[in-house]
C-alpha cells in the first residue's frame, strides 16, 4: 500500500504495491501524486489550497457580476441588463461574494494555517475536513447551476418576503439558492466543529490559549459564530422552502403571518455573519503587521479579548438591519446602543494595530501595504457603520447607496484587503515561491484607487437618495452640480474597471510566479509564528518533531534572545531552528489515510437537492449515495492499520495522527 510513513527515508515517494486491507465497499485510495491524490486527500494543506482555489474562482464569477452591474448603471437608461437579469445579478453577486468567496477563502486559510500555527500535524477530523470542502464546492456549483436552468435567485441576498415567494419569483432560482445555501451551510457547520476541536484539542505542548497566534484566535471566534449562526439560517431556509414548495404561509402577510420573522431569523444569522467575514482578515493583518514592523503585536490580550467581545456582542445587534421596519422605540433604542457599543472592541483593534506600527521598522511589502490599507479603509467603513447606529439617520439611509458604500468599505476594504495581505504573506509558505513584489505593489495601488473610486461616490449617491437595487436611473432625476447622480455613477463605474484591473494584476502575478517566481528562502519575512518553523511548502507531516512552546511568538523567541543590555539579538538562524526539529524527528509518523468517502458523501447532497426541485426519484438516488457514503465512512478507520504502512511498523514508537 502506498501509504508511506513520514518522514520517508527516500526523497522519491514511489508507491510499492503492498496489499491494502479492503474496508467498506472500496479499497482505500493510495495515490500520492496526480489528480487522485487531490480528489481523495484528507491532508489539511491540500484541502486548504483547494478551498482557496475554488474560492478564487467564485471571486472571479462574483467580480464579473459586479462589473455587469456597474456597466448597467454607468449611463442613464442602462441597456446592458434587463430588470429581471439585473435582479438576479445583484442577488448572485452578493451571495457569491459572501458565501462562495470570503467565507471559503477564510476557511481555506484556516485549514492551511491553524494546524501549522498551533503545532499540529493535521486537523482533528481530517475526513470531515475533506467533506466540508467538497460540500462547499458542490453547493456553490449547484447554486450557480440556476443560471442555466431558468434563471438565478432574484430576491436580493437577504431574500425578504414577499419577493421571495412563488408569486414574485416563480422561477426555480430561489429554490436553487435555498438548497445551495443549505449544502454550503452543512459544510460550514462541519468545518466549525472540526476547527474548534482542532484548536482546543490539538495544540502542541506549551501552546496555551494565550500563546496562540492571533489568526488562530480570530478563526476560533469565527468558527464559534458559524457554529451558532448557521443553524438559524438553516431554520429560515427550511421555512422558506416549505412556503415555496409545500404551500405553507410562514411569511405570507395575507395569511396572517409576520414577514418580520424572516428578517429576524435572517439577521440573527446575518449579523454574526458579517463578523464571520471580517474577523479572519483581522487575524491575518494581526500576523502581518508585527512581522513587517519588527515589533510584537501591541496589546496581544486586548486584541484577543476584543475579538472575543465582537463575537459576543455580535449577537445583540442584528435588528439594526431592521430599523426601518417599525420595531418600536424600545427595540430600536436597545439595538442602537448595542451597535454603538460594538464599535468599541473594533476600535480597540485599530488602536492596537496602529500602536504596533508606531516606532516600528516598517517594511512596506505588498502584504504590509494591504494590511495598512485594511486599517484605513475599514476605519472609514466602520465610521459610516457607526452612523447607522443612529436610528433616525439610518431610517433615512436604509436601502440607499450609502449602505452599499458602507458595506463595501468594510467587506472590500476590510475583509478582501486582509485576504490579499494573507496571499502575499503566506504564498511562499504554501507554494515555496515569492509572489512578485513589484506587481504586488501595482496590484495594491490599483485596488485601493479602484475601490475608493467605486465605493467612495456611493456615499454621495446614497445621501442624495439613490436607492440600492434600482436597475436604471434617468437623467431627468439625476440632479445638478456636485451632486449630479449621473457623474458619480459614471465615476463609480470607471472605478470598478480600475478595481478589476487590480485584481487582474494579482491573477497575472500568480501565473508569473508559477512560471518563474523566485524560490522562497526558509524564512523570507523573518516571521514570528510556528507555521514558519517548517519547510516551504511544509512537509506532509508539517513538523518532523512537535515543538514545545514556551512563548507567544515562539519562532521569533527561538531566533532572538535578550542580551545583557536587554536588547533582542539574533542567536540562531531559521535554518538552525529547523535543524533542531529535524534532529529530533519522530521515526514513524502515520498520517491520516486518504479516503473515498468524503467526496462520495458530499456528492450525494446536490443530487438530493436537485431531486427536490425536479424529481423525487433523483432525490432518492442522492439519499442512497449519502447513506452508502456514511456507512463506508463509519466502518473505515481514519488512519490505515499500522501493517498497511510501508514499511509495516507496529513498534511502540509509532506516532498516530488522526
Amino acid at each position: 500500500m502506498a501509504i508511506i510513513e513520514r518522514p520517508s527515508t527516500t526523497q522519491e515517494v514511489v508507491a510499492p504495491a503492498t496489499p491494502s486491507s479492503s474496508l467498506g465497499a472500496l479499497k482505500r485510495p493510495v495515490a500520492t501524486t496526480g489528480w487522485k491524490s487531490w480528489l481523495f486527500t484528507v491532508d489539511h494543506k491540500k484541502l486548504g489550497i483547494m478551498y482557496s482555489a475554488a474560492a478564487l474562482f467564485f471571486f472571479i464569477v462574483g467580480g464579473l457580476e459586479a462589473v455587469l452591474i456597474r456597466l448597467q448603471l454607468a449611463a442613464p437608461n442602462g441597456k446592458v441588463l434587463n430588470a429581471d437579469l439585473y435582479n438576479q445579478m445583484f442577488t448572485m453577486h452578493a451571495t457569491t461574494m459572501v458565501f462562495l468567496f470570503v467565507m471559503p477563502m477564510a476557511a481555506g486559510l484556516a485549514n492551511y494555517f491553524i494546524p501549522l500555527q498551533i503545532g499540529a500535524r493535521d486537523v482533528a477530523f481530517p475526513r470531515i475536513n475533506a467533506f466540508s470542502f467538497w460540500a462547499f464546492l458542490f453547493g456553490g456549483l449547484f447554486l450557480n447551476m440556476s443560471w442555466f436552468l431558468g434563471g438565478a435567485a432574484d430576491g436580493g441576498w437577504f431574500m425578504y418576503a414577499p419577493n421571495s415567494g412563488p408569486i414574485y419569483s416563480p422561477s426555480h432560482g430561489i429554490d436553487f439558492w435555498i438548497l445551495g445555501l443549505q449544502i454550503t451551510g452543512i459544510a460550514s457547520l462541519a468545518g466549525a466543529v472540526n476547527l474548534i476541536t482542532t484548536v482546543l484539542n490539538m495544540r502542541a505542548p506549551g501552546m496555551k490559549l494565550m500563546r496562540m497566534p492571533i489568526f488562530t484566535w480570530m478563526q476560533l471566534v469565527v468558527q464559534f459564530l458559524l457554529l451558532f449562526a448557521v443553524p438559524v439560517i438553516t431554520v429560515a431556509l427550511f421555512l422558506l422552502s416549505f412556503q415555496r414548495n409545500f404551500d405553507a404561509t410562514f411569511f405570507d402577510v395575507a395569511a396572517g403571518a409576520d414577514p418580520l420573522l424572516w428578517q429576524h431569523l435572517f439577521w440573527i444569522f446575518g449579523h454574526p455573519e458579517v463578523y464571520i467575514l471580517i474577523l479572519p482578515s483581522f487575524g491575518v493583518i494581526s500576523e502581518v503587521i508585527p512581522v513587517f514592523s519588527r515589533k510584537p503585536l501591541f496589546g496581544y490580550p486586548f486584541v484577543v479579548f476584543s475579538g472575543a467581545a465582537i463575537g459576543f456582542v455580535g449577537w445583540g445587534v442584528w435588528a439594526h438591519h431592521m430599523f426601518a421596519s417599525g420595531l418600536g422605540p424600545v427595540s430600536v433604542a436597545v439595538f442602537s446602543i448595542a451597535t454603538m457599543a460594538i464599535a468599541v472592541p473594533t476600535g480597540v483593534k485599530v488602536v492596537n494595530w496602529t500602536m504596533t506600527l508606531w516606532g516600528g521598522k516598517l517594511e512596506f511589502t505588498a502584504a504590509m501595504k494591504f494590511a495598512v490599507g485594511l486599517i484605513v479603509l475599514f476605519t472609514i467603513g466602520g465610521l459610516s457603520g457607526v452612523t447607522h447606529s443612529v436610528a433616525p439617520s439610518d431610517t433615512q439611509q436604509t436601502d440607499t447607496y450609502y449602505i452599499v458604500a458602507h458595506f463595501h468599505y468594510v467587506l472590500f476594504g476590510g475583509a478582501i484587503f486582509g485576504l490579499f495581505s494573507g496571499f502575499y504573506y503566506w504564498w511562499p509558505k504554501v507554494f515555496g515561491k515569492m509572489l512578485n513584489e513589484k506587481l504586488g505593489s501595482w496590484n495594491f495601488w490599483m485596488m485601493v484607487i479602484g475601490m475608493n473610486m467605486t465605493f467612495g461616490p456611493m456615499h454621495i449617491l446614497g445621501l442624495q437618495g439613490q436607492p440600492r437595487r434600482m436597475y436604471q436611473w434617468t437623467e431627468a432625476r439625476a440632479g445638478e452640480g456636485f451632486f449630479n447622480l449621473g457623474f458619480w455613477n459614471a465615476f463609480a463605474s470607471v472605478g470598478s474597471l480600475v478595481l478589476t484591473t487590480g485584481v487582474l494584476l494579482f491573477l497575472i502575478n500568480i501565473v508569473i510566479t508559477a512560471r518563474n517566481g523566485k524560490v522562497a528562502p526558509l524564512d523570507p519575512w523573518n516571521a514570528r509564528s510556528l507555521e514558519w518553523m517548517t519547510t516551504n511548502p511544509p512537509k506532509e507531516h508539517n513538523f518532523d518533531s512537535i515543538p514545545t512552546v514556551s512563548h507567544l511568538d515562539e519562532f521569533f523567541h527561538r531566533k532572538y534572545q535578550e542580551d545583557a543590555n536587554g536588547q533582542m539579538v539574533q542567536v540562531k538562524t531559521a535554518e538552525q531552528v529547523m535543524k533542531e526539529l529535524e534532529d529530533n524527528a519522530d521515526a514513524h509518523i502515520h498520517m491520516p489515510s486518504p479516503s473515498y468517502w468524503p467526496i462520495v458523501l458530499a456528492a450525494g447532497l446536490p443530487v438530493i437537492t436537485f431531486g427536490l426541485i425536479y424529481s423525487i426519484p433523483i432525490g432518492i438516488v442522492g439519499g442512497i449515495i449519502v447513506l452508502f457514503g456514511a456507512y463506508g465512512w463509519s466502518i473505515e478507520p481514519g488512519t490505515a492499520p499500522d501493517d498497511d504502512f510501508d514499511p509495516p511498523t507496529t513498534t511502540k514508537d509509532v506516532v498516530h495522527v488522526g
Binding site: F228, D247, I635
Partner: protein, 200 residues
C-alpha cells in the same frame, strides 16, 4: 487519534483539553443543534395562536396519548444509559440488548407521532391549514426526524459492532450516540411542555 497525542495503557488519548476529539466534536454539534431547535421553537411560539379557520390546539391535542409516548421516549434515555454502561464494561451482549431496546422505544415514539399526525389530519388540521398547524408540524416533524436518525444510528452501530468493524473505541462510539440520544430527549421535554402543557 490526534497529532500530538498517544494512547496510554488504557487506550485513552491525551488531548489539550483531556476530552477526546470525538466527544468534544459531538458536544459542539449539539450546541449548534440548540440553535436549530431554538429557531423552530421561536417560530412555533410566534404562530401558535394563529389558527385561522382551522382547529385550535386544544381541539386536536390528545394530551394523555402524547404523555404516554413522551414517557416511552424518556424511558429510552434510561435504556441508553444502560447500553453505554454495558459498553464501558465490555459486555457486548447487554450492549446490543439495551441498544435494541432503546431503538424500539424510539420507534414506538415515532410510531405514536405518525399516528398522532394522521389523527390530526383527519380532524381537519393539514400542514397548510393555518400558521399554527404549519409551525406545529415543522417543529415536531424536525424532532421526529432527529429521533429517526438516532434509531438508524443505533441499529447501524449494532450491525457494525457485530461484525466487529468499529474503528476506534466501541464504548466511545456508543457513548457518542448516547449523547445525541439524550439531547433529542431533552429537546422533546421542552417541546412537549411548550406545545401541549402550556395553553396558547
Amino acid at each position: 487519534m490526534t497529532a500530538n497525542t498517544h494512547a496510554d495503557e488504557h487506550g485513552a488519548l491525551h488531548t489539550s483539553t483531556g476530552l477526546s476529539n470525538n466527544k468534544l466534536g459531538m458536544w459542539l454539534f449539539l450546541g449548534s443543534e440548540c440553535l436549530l431547535f431554538g429557531g423552530l421553537i421561536s417560530t412555533y411560539m410566534l404562530y401558535r395562536g394563529r389558527v385561522g379557520a382551522g382547529p385550535r390546539p386544544s381541539q386536536v391535542f390528545d394530551i394523555p396519548f402524547t404523555s404516554v409516548s413522551s414517557f416511552v421516549l424518556l424511558m429510552s434515555s434510561l435504556t441508553m444509559v444502560l447500553a453505554v454502561s454495558a459498553a464501558h464494561k465490555g459486555d457486548d451482549r447487554n450492549t446490543y440488548l439495551w441498544i435494541t431496546v432503546t431503538a424500539l422505544l424510539g420507534a414506538t415514539f415515532v410510531g405514536g407521532q405518525v399516528y398522532e399526525f394522521t389523527a390530526f389530519y383527519n380532524e381537519g388540521m393539514g400542514f397548510t391549514t393555518s400558521l399554527f398547524s404549519s409551525s406545529f408540524y415543522v417543529l415536531t416533524g424536525f424532532h421526529g426526524v432527529h429521533v429517526t436518525v438516532g434509531i438508524i444510528m443505533l441499529m447501524s452501530i449494532v450491525g457494525i459492532m457485530k461484525r466487529s468493524k468499529v474503528p476506534g473505541s466501541k464504548a466511545e462510539t456508543v457513548e457518542m450516540i448516547g449523547l445525541y440520544w439524550h439531547f433529542v430527549d431533552i429537546v422533546w421535554i421542552i417541546i412537549f411542555t411548550l406545545i401541549y402543557l402550556i395553553p396558547a
